[in-house]
Amino acid sequence: MKSMMTRRRFLHGVGAGTALVTMPQFLAACGGKGGAAATTPAAAPANPFLDWFGIDEAMLRRVMAELTSRGATHADAYFQHSRTNTLRMEDGLISQATSSIDQGVGLRVVVGDQIGYAFTEDLTEEAMLAAARTAAAIAAGGALAPPEAFAYRPETTGFYQIAVPWADVGIDQKLPRLRLAEAQARGGDSSIKKVSVSWVDSDERVLVVNRHGRIVTDQRPMARLYVNVTAERGGVTQSNGADLAGRRGFDWLTDAQLREVADRAVARTLVLFDARRPPAGELPVILAAGASGILLHEAIGHGLEADFNRKGTSIYASMLGQQIAPEFVTIVDDATVAHERGALNVDDEGNDTERTVLVDRGVLRSYLHDQISAEHYKVATTGSGRRQSFRFAPLPRMRCTYMENGPHTRDELIAAVKGTGIIAETFTNGQVQIGAGDYTFYIKNGWLVEDGKVTAPIKDVNIIGNGPESLRRITMAANDSQLDIGGWTCGKDGQGVPVSQGLPTVLVSSMTVGGENA
């Protein structure tokens, strides 16, 4: 039934992690890449990733031969092993602890723009050959020769190396961290009745091999902490939360970090007691620096994923080279920002990643490409081929999407609002219709601005706009660009991938604000 959900492209920031895991300790074998450290050339050790998946080059050759037995433009195998642990503390107790291991291989055959795909969690040669045969059925040509030799991509980037793998961090080490965050939030105000703390850590290992014998490996850590607070004042109950996320290790969760996220959750909750709805209709909107990058994700990011443009279904399909925003607007999708959720050493097709300038001083410069769209447009891939897991074929996806600094200051933006406007500060989710260009995002916390002054807190407002129109209506951008610290997951065609986003403070002259009139 997954394919029934293909209409949905969305982004969400809150909610529990989906994967779950602790693995027996052969993790220690996976410290290096490429087997380059062999001291005895006569007996070079196998690549540790091959050991990890219990495969060898001869087996890979046979699988690739089967995969390309009816021809292919591209063919690849994506091996993945991920382990995830989650913990949730409620009422001062760990109410839920989970571990999960998800391991398998996805096999893909591409013929032009046609894709045959199969996966198996069973990494025996027999199961892999059967899946390869299934994927190959899309093609109808002659067999290609399997790779004669395999070449390992040298390690050139390290955007998310961590000191201690998460698999080596025991629950006994994590519990005091959760308790600290819990106590900090609970002590935040006498009105606080409930505090829950959710924790997710994961390690992922991937190995991508293509039909030319290129082997690429990557290790991807991820951590996320979420604090939720419920408070009651005068018979009214309010709840809200805050989170921290990144491709980070245990040492990142310092006392100061934990206290900050707990304090943030408390502040976001307490402000709701005084918050109201802004008026309904078209208003100027100031997007606060950081999480407001959700604007870029929905208003333009999805529309620049090249599969939609190749198929002609994106509103941006004919705008390359055109001025689509004021000159002070430069928008980037960047895989190279260290330790961010959207950071990637290599993409899920095994290609090198990069910093891709999407909009350069207002001019639309590039789409986000995977191999299929890069071939279609006869350009180099931007390293944007991503997938949720080995169960899915890759698609062009965003990584860290942000806007660079503008020429103004935040105070100037606020002063520029005549009449009534709002500041959008925290968000829960967004969505877009690629063809119509209509997009939304949901403001959890924000502020009312009246005649250039911030006057009152607001809450629970959906914003809807049209992507190209909103870009044209960016009238000011401040010099305070930052990435959001929260854990965003982007959904497309039923696949969720971690992303990051950022923005300087930006003023959009008019958007449709889901408020209420008296």
Binding site: M1, S3, T6, R7, L20, T22, P24, E90, L93, I94, S95, Q96, A97, T98, S99, S100, I101, D102, Q103, G104, Q114, I115, G116, Y117, A118, E121, D122, A131, A135, A137, I138, D172, N228, T230, T237, Q238, S239, A280, G281, K311, G312, T313, S314, I315, R391, Q433, G435, A436, D438, Y439, T440, Y442, K459, D460, V461, N462, I464, T512, G514, E516
Partner: protein
Amino acid sequence: MRDELMKIVGVAIEAATKAGASDAAAGAYRSRSVAFQVRNGKLEQVNDSTSRALSMRLFVDGRYSEHTTTDLRAERVTAFVTEAVKMTRALQADPHRRLADPARYPTALPALDLADATVQRLDREQRLAWAMRMNERVAGKPQVISSTSSVSDGHTVVAGATTNGLSASYETTSIGLSTDATLEDGDKRPEDWMGAWGHHVADLPDPDGIADEALRLARARLGTTKGPTKRTAMVVDRRAAGSIVARLLGPASGGAVQQERSFWRGKLDQALVSPKLTIVDDPLVPRGLGSRPFDGEGMASARLPLIDGGALRNLYLDTYYASKLGLTPTTGQGSNRIVTLGTKGRDALLKDAGTGIYVTSWLGGNMDPTTGDFSLGVRGHLFDKGALGAPVGEMNVTGNIVDLFARLAAVGNDPWLYSGTVAPTLVFDGVQFSGA
């Protein structure tokens, strides 16, 4: 296959007990899924895979944890479970964690008719023929830039066992057909889609009808403009109705109430919303999309009245949160949520409502589960004197979900069957829209 899965859960339970677990529950599934996708008359993608996984719930010295793995080799399962038991010992004891009461386990499984042999016999030619047939009716038509048609089907076997007496398995099949269309419309490219799915091939509408409806819906979007900012009647299309009903029911869970993040807290049996609203959760509907013989804890399926005459009668309660709240468990998982029907169809309801906005789909938005405050993106059509008019989009509706359902003026007689929440056309009075 069922025997093989029962064997795996047996190995897991035995390993857990041997490693020192006082109680354990294990569940396993094996699933074959196939999807064919045709775009603009050409086969674009075929996915075909068989998947499996084992999940465990472990109770060790009053401590509790949950585990999942896809590596089902017997020796790996044993090692995994042994490690998991060890991990559980590092946790704190939680007095509310226990297996479900064995008296709640099914004695015999109800006949729900969830597996269709026709689905299991589908071949490549049949799947491709359906997808091509749907696609031919849309792709290449005037203004159509792109159309994708999908046929997806699956066969899943589920097995479960616990140390206190559950040992059962069942199988289901699923089949779904869908088609979308993106049209040329000046500098915009409006899109829409239609899809239907069920357990049985025979329960699906004709593929031609699905394709024709997708094209009709997309064409209805041509010339969309932003509607007005005003408070007016909202008529919700039956395909969009399930989603707003699901938002109302979302916080009706033990976890949300116990954690005090639910507007339903303390409101059981109070008439909060319109007396016209009655909703039952019924997992025993033959061939129902959400039907199941037992839930994730193994508790036998039973009909659960949720809202009756505008009052909440029950919460979704698993064993854990029921214990924390001092209540009797119902089930922690929703199944088929069925809205009791009214007497009139859509056109009659539009006529009764007179003037307002007909919402065909939602776009983004959210709701605060603690207060019920919501704001949602919408698109649809204006209607006047009961007649549907121009398409509108780029609008929001905003309010409080309890207040919204208190303003429920009428319930239609036209349920949308291809959804877990089976709802008809719904009419609400005095809803705040924001637009131009």
